[in-house]
């Protein structure tokens, strides 16, 4: 039976998650140099369009269609066949099946967009489009099935991922690492300028924050106690992540910075994602704060040591925070908060769930890294991933899209 309140919440959540991709575009777009901002916008927005199309044509079916051997969903929902206005009780008994499909679509489209941070300012637009569609097909859709699909083997194994710590953040983060390695450093790295417009970065972060309430809260697939819990934990982890980064900045770099605050905020949000509907508010504070600190270390020390050019820290933030948050479910999850969850180490005293989470992390990370790496190598061979050096110099906006974001005069 369709419930009007549940439906209202998931419809608005879907809209909120959609808004996150433009949010990401502003976040990333403000960080790059003026000459590349439109290339970031184009990649983010076209990811929505082409991966969205893939999703309705066959992606949704691969992910959520009736199970085949625990690994893939088959094609019986392809072209939205059998996906109608009545509920599909397997996933959400009180909202139309079509609504569940479109809510999930918003996750599928933002995940490849997250990866853009790793190869921003140098990737060919055509190569990106091909990459996005293939990656969604061979990486995202299977992973979504394993973790969330009825019959998926990680789901059956007991892995918990409330709103996408593994499926979205780890998978995108590992792909980002692979991409940074395959695509290579930007010309002139590490002298690649400072963020050209931090006001846009703040705008992007604000939209991401706002949208994240739909991302996590909507993952309850109903409106009530669990959506409320996810909302609250999301907010608290975001705050704690921001505070942690600001404090570290203040102590270690002498000044609290805006980009630091926003980075910590995103780290907190990404980390709480897999845990948001399973843990309590105080645990969320801890998850967020530790996420801020871990991502700070990864961006500050690890990246500069290892010298790969993850331009906008897609791995350093989403990958690291997603991993931490997925583990954290095994620490703080509590059936007192969500009876469909589990009791983590701190409640049950047993490490079982922690182990399950760890296995899920390893499986998902390895799968995403290996397939992303191979896919990118292949594409590099067949169509080339990078723009030419002089196009990189002039900027992708003019050379890939024949546009400038801002006029200089008039």
């Amino acid at each position: 039976m369709i419930d009007s309140g549940d439906t209202a919440w998931i419809v608005i959540s879907s809209a909120l998650v959609l808004l996150m991709t433009p949010g990401l575009a502003f976040f990333y777009g403000g960080l790059v140099r003026r000459k590349n901002i439109l290339s970031v916008f184009m990649q983010c927005l076209m990811a929505v369009c082409v991966v969205g199309l893939q999703w309705v044509l066959f992606g949704y079916s691969l992910a959520f269609g009736p199970d085949h051997g625990g690994v893939i969903g088959g094609l019986s929902f392809a072209g939205l066949n059998n996906v109608g206005l009545l509920p599909n009780a397997d996933y959400a008994a009180t909202i139309p099946h079509l609504l569940f499909m479109v809510f999930q679509m918003m996750f599928a489209v933002i995940t490849p967009a997250l990866i853009i941070g790793a190869f921003a300012e140098r990737m060919k637009f055509s190569a990106f489009l091909v990459f996005a569609v293939l990656w969604a097909t061979i990486v995202y859709d299977p992973l979504a099935h394993w973790v969330w699909g009825v019959g998926g083997f990680l789901r059956d194994y007991g892995a918990l991922d409330f709103a996408g710590g593994t499926v979205v953040h780890i998978s995108a983060g590992m792909a980002a690492l692979a991409a940074a390695l395959v695509v290579g450093k930007r010309k002139g790295y590490p002298e690649t300028g400072t963020p050209h417009n931090l006001a846009l970065v703040v705008l992007g972060a604000a939209l991401l924050w706002f949208g994240w309430f739909g991302f996590n809260g909507g993952s309850a697939l109903s409106s009530g106690a669990i959506s409320t819990l996810a909302f609250v934990t999301t907010q608290l982890a975001a705050m704690a992540g921001a505070i942690a980064w600001v404090v570290l900045d203040w102590v270690l770099a002498k000044r609290p910075t805006t980009l630091g605050l926003l980075s910590g905020l995103i780290a907190g949000l990404a980390a709480v994602t897999p845990a948001s509907g399973y843990v309590g508010p105080m645990a969320a504070l801890a998850i967020g704060a530790i996420a801020g600190a871990l991502c700070y270390i990864s961006v500050m020390f690890v990246k500069s040591r290892l010298q790969y050019d993850d331009s906008l820290d897609a791995f350093g933030i989403h990958g690291v925070a997603g991993t931490w948050g997925t583990l954290a479910v095994g620490l703080w999850a509590s059936v007192a908060f969500n009876p469909n969850g589990a009791d983590g180490l701190f409640l049950s005293g047993a490490a079982h769930q922690l182990l399950v989470q760890f296995v899920a992390i390893v499986v998902v990370s390895a799968y995403s890294f290996v397939l992303s790496f191979a896919l990118l190598k292949l594409l590099d061979k067949f169509m080339g991933l990078r723009v030419s050096p002089d196009h990189e110099l002039i900027g992708l906006d003019l050379t890939q899209h024949k546009e400038s974001a801002y006029t200089f005069l008039g």
Partner: protein, 113 residues
């Protein structure tokens, strides 16, 4: 005829314009520049990586005028721009060989005003 280029602190623009006005020097062209001088720049930090910053925002004023008005102009600029701190700026004086007013076609000194 001379062509004066003055680089000053951005927030002194209004008082310089005023001081020049008092001398009846009302015509000028103003632009935004970055200056590297004795005043030390402030290092910037992005995602915790420190970027040594060396360029500070300044304002550049250009004035074409008769040679005999140069001392007045310099005085006025000094008056308006002086704070006594490093970074107050500099004035450069170049020779101007001709000036043309587009609207009337006038040339030379009569086109300056």
């Amino acid at each position: 005829m001379k062509y004066i280029i003055a680089v000053i602190q951005p927030d002194r623009l209004e008082s310089v314009v005023e001081a020049l006005s008092e001398e009846k020097l009302d015509l000028m062209t103003v632009s935004e520049v970055l200056g590297r001088g004795r005043q030390k720049g402030v290092a910037e930090v992005y995602r915790s990586h420190v970027q040594p910053g060396s360029l500070l925002r300044k304002v550049k004023i250009e004035i074409a005028l008769q040679a005999d008005k140069v001392p007045q102009a310099i005085d006025a600029i000094k008056r308006g721009a002086y704070t006594g701190n490093i970074g107050d700026g500099k004035i450069f004086v170049l020779d101007l060989s001709d000036c043309i007013r587009i609207r009337t076609g006038e040339t030379g000194e009569s086109a300056l005003a």
